[in-house]
Amino acid sequence: MNRFISFLEEKFVPVAAKIGGQKHLVAIRDSFASLMPLILVGAFAVLLNNVFFVPWSLLAKYIGEESAFIVWTNTNLAPLFSLMEGGTFGIIALGLAFSMGYNRAVNEEKDALSTGLISVASFILLGALTRNNEVVASWVTNFLGAQGIFIALLVGLITPEIYFAIVRKDWVIKMPDTVPPAVAKGFSAVIPGFIAVFFWAVIAYFFNIGAGMNIFNWFETNIAAGLSVLGQNIFSILIISTLIPLLWFFGLHGANMLEAIMSPVYGTMGIENISKFSNGIRALGTGADELAVWVRGSWDAYVFMGGSGATLPLIVAILVFSKVKQQKEVAKLGLPPGIFMINEPVLFGMPIVLNPVYFIPFILVQPILTLVAFYATKIGFAGPIVNSVPWTTPPILNAFLATNGSFGAVVVSVVNLVIAFLVYMPFVMIANRYEEQRIKEEDAA
C-alpha cells in the first residue's frame, strides 16, 4: 500500500498540480466563481417560487394548487421572481464571456475591463442576441443564458490571447505625453480590440456562408446533444467522482481542480434544469427538452456528504467506534464544519491525507454513492435536481431542497449516509488495532 501511494505521489501528483495550475483552466474556474452574484440571486428567486408561489410548489402540494393563496401568488408574485430569473440565469453566458476576459487579464496583469468588454463584443457579434428554435426549448429567445455557455467559453479563452498578443507586440497607438493618461489608455486599446473583434467577425462570416447558420445554432445542432450524452454517461460521472478523492488524498483540492470541467458541463445542465422545470418540463433524459439526471448539484446533494470523501459519516463512525484518542479529538473538531460540508480539518487533521489506513474507503465511497444516487434518479425514485442550493447546505436538507421536495431524494440521502458509514467502519476498526499495536510496542519498550 505504501509503495503504491509513493508511486502515485511521484507520478500523479506533479501532473495533477501542473494541470491545476494551468492558466486557462484557472481562468475558467475563477470566471465561474465570479458569476456567483448572478447564480445566487437567480437561484434564490427560483427557490422562492418553487417552494412557495407557483402551482407546482412544495407549499401547493400541501394546501392545493387551487387554494386562494397559490392562485394569488401565482398571478402577482411568481412573475416577479421569474423576471429575476430571466435577468440572472438568463444572462449567465454573457456574464461568463465578460468574466473570462476579465479574469484572464487579471492573471496576466493586463487591462481587465477592456479585455472583458472586447470579449462581450465578440460574443454578441457571433449571434448571441437571437434564438429561434420552435422545436427545442422554444421559450428561450437568445443565447445569453445557459445555451450560450460553450461559445462564451470559446470566446473567453481565445479573445484574451489575441488581445494580449497584440498588446505584447506593442502594436498600439501611442499618444504624445501631453495627452491625459486615461485618454491615452483608451486609444491604446483600439488596435488590439479591433483585431480581436475582427477575428470573430471573420469567423461569424464563415459560419454564415459555410453552415448557413451562426456558430451558436451550429453548436446547438451538432455538438450540444453529443456533449449532453457524454456528460450524462455514468462513466464520465464516475471518473469525476473517483478523481476528486484521489486528488484530495494527496492534499490537493479535488473539486477545485476539476471545476473547469464540472462547472461548464454540469453547472450548465443544472441551470438548464431549473429553466426547463419552470417551463413545465418533467421528463428525464439527455435530450434538450428533458431534465438531466446528473447536474453539478448532484454531487453536493448525494456524494459530498460532509465534504469530499463523504467524511461526515466517517466522523460519526470515529466518534462511535474509535479508540484512538487523537482521532476522536480531530473528529470532534471536524463535526461542526463537517455538517456544513467543510472537511479540511478532518482531511488534514486526522489526517486522511497520505494516510494508508483510510486510502481504500476514501477512494471507494464516492463512486458507490454516485452509482446509488444516479440510478435512483434515473429510475425516477428520487426527483431530478431543479433548484440551486448553496453547496454548504447540510446533507439531507440539501437533497430535499435541490429536488424541490422529493421524498425519494431524502431517502437516497439517508441511504448514502448509512452506506458511507458502513464503508468507513471497518477501517476505523483497523485504525484501532494499529493503535493498540502501537501502544503495546511502546509499553514493551
Partner: protein
C-alpha cells in the same frame, strides 16, 4: 500588517482566521488577518503584506507568486487540519520578519 489567507471558497481558511486572530490577541500583536477565495484574493494583492495558501491549493503558489510583490507561502498541512492558529501565526510572523 495585513495577512491574506487563500483557499478555494474562503470557507475553511476563515475557520483558521478566527484561531489566528485569537492567538494574535493573546500575544498582543496588532495584525489584520482575513480569508478570501482564490479569485477574489488575486485582485487585492497590492493591499496585503503576506499571502498564505491553504495546502489544498498549493498548486496555486506560482500563480500568486507571479502576481504578488509580497511573500507567498503554503500553510503546513497538519497545522491547517488541526486549525492551530498559533503555529500558523508564528509561521506568518517569521515570513514577515524575513522580508524586512
Amino acid at each position: 500588517m495585513k495577512i491574506l489567507l487563500v483557499c478555494s471558497a474562503g470557507m475553511s481558511t476563515s475557520l483558521l482566521v478566527t484561531k489566528m486572530k485569537k492567538a494574535a490577541e493573546e500575544k498582543g500583536i496588532d495584525v489584520e488577518i482575513f480569508a478570501l477565495s482564490a479569485g477574489e484574493g488575486k485582485k487585492i494583492l497590492k493591499d496585503v503584506d503576506l499571502v498564505l495558501l491553504g495546502p489544498q491549493v498549493r498548486f496555486m503558489k506560482n500563480e500568486f507568486a507571479k502576481l504578488a510583490t509580497v511573500p507567498v507561502d503554503v500553510i503546513d498541512m497538519l497545522s491547517y487540519g488541526r486549525m492551530e492558529g498559533d503555529k500558523v501565526l508564528n509561521h506568518a510572523l517569521t515570513l514577515l520578519q524575513q522580508k524586512q
